[in-house]
Amino acid sequence: MLKKLLFIGVVLLAGLHGTMATVEGEKAEIFMTDIGNKVINLLTDKSISQQERASQFQHILETKFDVRAIGKFVLGRYWKHASKEEKEKFLALFKASTVASYATRFSEYSSEKFEVVGSRTEKDGGVTVLTRIVRPNGQAILIDWKIFEKKGELRIYDVILEGISMSITQRSEYAAVIQQGGGKVQALITALEKKTGKPIS
């Protein structure tokens, strides 16, 4: 409760003092530049194994993203219907499948440049950092990162690729899987297990 009041206080102050909001933006931009560099180093380091790379990605995911909040959002209205066990299973599988999908994406990496272009404070108190990945042929892909502060540290809550929110589209996809499985969250868990090849007992 106190934390909430403090947070609201900070947001109000940010509204009164424009500079405070800018600092937030700058902080977030530095945060993203940092992550960008980490990831690029990871990708260009040919000496580490695929396993090691995947586990480092997982570490980045766990420390720089808020996987629980994203997972909860992505499960949408089914979160409330899920048992505690289902929630835990789902989150573990969600994490594994996210790591796997980014690992395949990045395996084709070859000297793309990651640039932080700017940032924008949002009405809901978060900051969107605008970045760009420039391919060797000059074409650029725009990626926005939605960042909030949680317990004193910055975390990523959504990735928006060319204007398309990954969380929203994933939520839609998972909802379809659950519906096809008769409205049971277990259907999604089973599908994710198949996808990642990792049964969670």
């Binding site: 409330k80 939605k146 096809q180």
Partner: protein, 314 residues
Amino acid sequence: MLTLFQPFRLKEISKDLGSAPGMKLLDGNSESNIKRLSLLKTSIAFLIFFSLVLSPSYAQQDAWSYTDDEQHPGKQETLDAEDWAEIMDSPPSAEDYDPFESFNRFIFGLNEFIDMILIDPLSRMYHDLVPEFGRERVGYALRNLSEPVVFANNILQGDLEGARVTLGRFVVNSTLGLAGLFDVSTDLDLPYKKEDFGLTLASWGVEAGPYLVLPILGPSNARDAWGRAGDYAMDPINWWSYHYKKGFYSYIRTGVQVLDAKTENLELMEELKDNSIDYYATLRAWYYERRKDLMHEKEEREALDTPRPDDDDE
């Protein structure tokens, strides 16, 4: 520039690839293809009309998402106060509005099949035979040829600033950019902004309507399907080629558009497919989000609908 939905927009009448020189996939001269073309257009128009007239009213759009799921078909379940509170709590997923889902999935499967036996192999050949530089030139030239339609839509939307930019792009790229082969306008601060008649209709307040998967053309919705028809009718290249009875220039252009769009997005689409459990649902969501983004509505939505921190709960 990621033109994700170019393949769906531009996969026009690709069966008419048959009449392009060298292709013996479909028999017949261009006349019978024109007849087939008008039959196809008529059936698509009928399908869309059918869906607009007979689809559930938009007022029921919210109810649709909730009364059906988690219930056995045919079984009525009363919702108590708690359920209703929960339903009202989470906003309806408009992106899932798909009353013709089973039919759409069927067409989707059909499209995947056509893709597999025809479009995909062709685009891989194109990718392997033509170097990146060449493919880029083709892509830019095609985009330049589509600027007149973009211009028309800018005007129809009352977007004079956009119209100015589009006109500038067309003139500069056609001259300095050597008939559109080079996109010099972007560097001159005249960026490309795609507009089509579907977006124009949206700006006039027309709702998207039910999600539709069109044969060959791919993901769409009731409004955007009419949009494609409108764009096709507005395209001066099509006027020119029909008027001068050189129909096959129009077909060649369409064919190349299909190839270009498909090849450019080959990796992305494959990756999307491999990473999704339900590719149909993924594309449906992507299409919806993409259209929303093109309509500039995102600013309002963004603030409401993203994951955000909350107190850890169970």
